[in-house]
Symmetry: C2
DNA sequence: CGAATACTTGAGTGGGGTCAACGCAAGTGG
DNA sequence: CCACTTGCGTTGACCCCACTCAAGTATTCG
C-alpha cells in the first residue's frame, strides 16, 4: 500500500504548507519500496552513491560518522515523515552514514521519481528544499550545543528537541515520549562519554526535570528543562 | 557595476555546473545593492526577518550565535561568491547572526528577484539548492571536528578547509592564504578557549605543519596536515 | 538460565579552561 | 614626537569538568 506508506510524509508536509490537491496526489503516487531495518543496521553508508532517497515510515534513523574505532559522531535523529538523505539527489557521494536506531520501516524512492515530481510541481521542489533547510537549522543548534553548552544543557536540548518533534507528528502527547536511544547513542550525539551521559541523566532526574524509563522519557518540568537547555522551538518551523 | 559584483558568484557556480548562456545572463542581471561592512559589524541579526539575501563579493563573513556573554559559537566562514543566508528565502526568521570578519563588500539581492530567477530557470533553483546542501556538508564536518576530534585536529581541519576553498576560487595559491581570523575567532569556531587555540597553533607551528603570519597562514606540510586533520576535500564538491 | 546488552557507580587522571601577566604593534591625540 | 590606549598574541600556574578504567547491577532474550 504505497498510499499508506507515504502518509507520514504527507502529514508532515501538510502541517506547514497546505498542499494543493494535485500535489498531495503526486506525492502519494511516488513509487515506494518499503524495507525493514534492524537496530544498528546501516541504511546508507559513507562512500555510497545512492540512486534512491529514504523516507522514515516507522522507527528512528540517525546520521553518523566514525572517525576512528570507538569515536562516533551522531549528527541527527530522524523520525517518521523525515527524508534524511534528500541531499543525495544533488551530492553524488555520501560523506556520512545513515543507520536505524530501532527496528524501522524505510520507504525508498528513486531519485528519478523525485526529479520528475519537482519538474511537474516546481512548488514541491521548494517545499522539499525548505525541509533540507530546516534540517540545517537543527544541525546548527546541535553544533552550538555540542560546542559551547554544558553537558546538562546539551543533553536537555536534545531531549527537548526530540520530544517536540515527536509531539508535532502525533507520536507523543508532549510529556511522555518514546526514547529508544541508548546512553551510548546519546553520548555520541552530544560528544560525551557514556559514563558522563549517565551521570548527567541522573542529575536531570534528581533535579525533577524528567524521568527515564525503559525506552521512554517523561518530562515533569517543561519550563525548567527549556530554560536549562535554552530551548526555543521556533527553529523547527512548526508554526501550529 | 552590477556585472562586476555578480562575477564571484558566477565564477563559483561555473566551477561546478557549466551554466547555460541564458542562465549566466540571468544571474548577472540580478539587481544588486552593494554595501560595505566593517570587521565585527553584523550583516544580519538573529531574529531578523530578511527580505534580501547577501552575497559575499569581497572579504569574509561568518555565521554565529551568542549563547551568553562571552560564549559564542561560530558555525561557518564565508568567502567571495558564497551566499550565506540563502536559507532566508524559505525560513522567515533568522535563528543566528551573520557578521563581517574583516572589511567586506556584500551584495544584497531581494528575495523576490531570487524567486523570479528560479521560476524562469528551474535548473538554477536546483543549482542553488545544491549550494545549500554543500553548506550543510561543511557543517557536518565542522560538527564532527568540534565534537569528536582533538584540538589540533579540529584547528588543522578548519585551516585545511579554508585554504582549500580559497584556493578553489583563486584567492590562494594553495600554500599561502589570507587568514584574518583572530585566535578568539578560531576559538569560538572550534569551541576552544583563546589560550588553548594559541597553544595548539604553537604546536602546529613547531611541528612544521604551517606558519602563522600577520593575517595569513602558510602550509609547509600539506600531507602531514591533512593526515592530522583527516581532511578529505571531497565533501566540498569541488570536482576539478 | 547463560549470554549479551545496557545501565550504574567509584576512583584516578588529563585535556582543556580560567586567571593573570606581559609583549608587541598600530592607532590616536596632545 | 612621544605618551596613552587598545587589540591581539604569548606564556605560566592552577584547577575542574569530563574521560578512562574498572567493577558491579539490572534487563532482555535465545
Amino acid at each position: 500500500m504505497a498510499q499508506l506508506s507515504a502518509e507520514p510524509l504527507v502529514r508532515k508536509l501538510e502541517r506547514v504548507h497546505a498542499l494543493k490537491p494535485g500535489e498531495q496526489e503526486a506525492i502519494e503516487k511516488l513509487p515506494l519500496t518499503v524495507k525493514q531495518f534492524d537496530p544498528g543496521q546501516d541504511i546508507v553508508r559513507e562512500g555510497d552513491r545512492p540512486t534512491i532517497v529514504c523516507m522514515v515510515v516507522d522507527g528512528i534513523a540517525f546520521r553518523y560518522t566514525i572517525i576512528e574505532p570507538d569515536k562516533r559522531q551522531i549528527m541527527a535523529f530522524y523520525i517518521p515523515g523525515d527524508i534524511p538523505d534528500l541531499e543525495g539527489l544533488f551530492l553524488d557521494t555520501m560523506d556520512h552514514s545513515l543507520s536505524a536506531l530501532r527496528p524501522s520501516t524505510i520507504a525508498q524512492i528513486p531519485h528519478t521519481a523525485m526529479r520528475q515530481l519537482f519538474e511537474k510541481h516546481p512548488r514541491l521542489g521548494e517545499v522539499f528544499w525548505r525541509e533540507t533547510l530546516i534540517d540545517s537549522a537543527m544541525m546548527r543548534k546541535w553544533l552550538t550545543c555540542v560546542g559551547r553548552r554544558s553537558s546538562d544543557a546539551c543533553i536537555a536540548h536534545m531531549i527537548c528537541e526530540f520530544v517536540t518533534r515527536m509531539h508535532a507528528i502525533g507520536l507523543s502527547d508532549g510529556l511522555t515520549c518514546d526514547f529508544p536511544m541508548t546512553q551510548t547513542d546519546l553520548g555520541d550525539a552530544a560528544a560525551l562519554s557514556l559514563v558522563h551521559v549517565n551521570r548527567t541523566l541522573r542529575d536531570l532526574r534528581e533535579s525533577g526535570f524528567l524521568s527515564w524509563g525503559s525506552q521512554s522519557v517523561t518530562i515533569h518540568d517543561w519550563p525548567g528543562l527549556m530554560k536549562l537547555a535554552q530551548f526555543d522551538p521556533s527553529y523547527l518551523q512548526l508554526k501550529n
